[in-house]
Amino acid sequence: MRRFILPLVIFLVVAGFLFKGLNLDPREVPSPLVGKPAPQFSLPRLDNPETVFTPKEMLGKVWLFNVWASWCGACRDEHPLLVELAKTGFVPVYGMDYKDTREDAQQWLDQRGNPYVATAMDIDGQVGIDYGVYGVPETYVIDKKGTIAYKQIGPITEEVLRDKLIPLIKRLKAQ
């Protein structure tokens, strides 16, 4: 019997690792930007191309920065949640329209509701690179000092909103 114990232990350890691996999402790459100041930019707004949006305006507030695009399928899934969240007034939601056109973006918001206080237009994706965007939608929680506190890769789900974002934002607001 004893000769089977070692292989069994090795098997269980390997199986344990593999089982853990089943539940990991390889797309969730830890962002090096968490804990760092949100990169500065100045981009024209969707509602009025003459004016710009810059994260500096938001110093002193906790806010959500949601990167989206009208061509992005998963954005469609999370959009109703954002609209609802914006309605509560709990946290201001700002958007960045990533590699998109003005017409498509405006039409998309007209159809589905506009949760954003303002949307910055990152048409060539340059600011997206500064924020390490590689798969829209991505959402950043930015604190009062302008530091990125959290990055959500992929759509916000009800669970993420309830278990992660809302408690985190409450904590950041109290700071």
């Binding site: 790459v29 090096p32 930007l33 060539d124 994706g125 390490g132 590689y134 798969g135």
Partner: protein, 156 residues
């Protein structure tokens, strides 16, 4: 029948011709060869985050094309390989590098395989040594020796 095969041949020629024409329309290489070499070298070292198992060089994802353009711009400015890789790591993390740096979080990755090899080697060594002591030379008894030579004789 014959008409069909001629038609088919003509069609094949036509298709072949189109591909040749397309090939001629490929973008010319950038003027500066050194920069192209640097861009190529770097994009083979860096991972496309959209398609994860491809290098930037292999990938045709939108982001990969953007990043290649970005790398080319930085290379044109005369930035070194290290500066360009650092720029991308700052934004996307160590995951963009196909060769992760040796850090406390990656020690297991770098040392693990050698550790396993060493453990396997030690295990094998111990096992073989134990087996050696287990099988002692057992001299044949007179009866056994007789049987053996009998069998050998029969064979020949």
């Amino acid at each position: 029948m014959k008409v069909y095969s001629i038609l088919r041949l003509a069609l094949a020629c036509l298709l072949l011709h189109t591909t040749i024409v397309l090939a001629e329309e490929a973008q010319p290489l950038e003027a500066n060869q050194a920069i192209e070499v640097q861009v190529q070298r770097l994009s083979e070292e860096l991972r496309c985050l959209v398609c994860q198992n491809q290098t930037l060089a292999d990938s045709h994802a939108d982001l990969a094309l953007d990043l290649k353009r970005e790398i080319r711009e930085m290379a044109t400015k005369g930035m070194s390989d290290k500066e360009i890789v650092d720029y991308l790591v700052e934004r996307y993390g160590d995951f963009v590098r196909y060769r992760p740096p040796l850090k406390s979080s990656t020690v297991l990755l770098w040392v693990g395989p050698f550790g396993l090899l060493l453990a396997g080697g030690v295990g094998l060594f111990l096992q073989l040594r134990r087996r050696q002591t287990m099988t002692t030379d057992a001299p044949l008894s007179a009866e056994e020796a007789r049987k053996v030579s009998e069998l050998l004789d029969k064979e020949s």
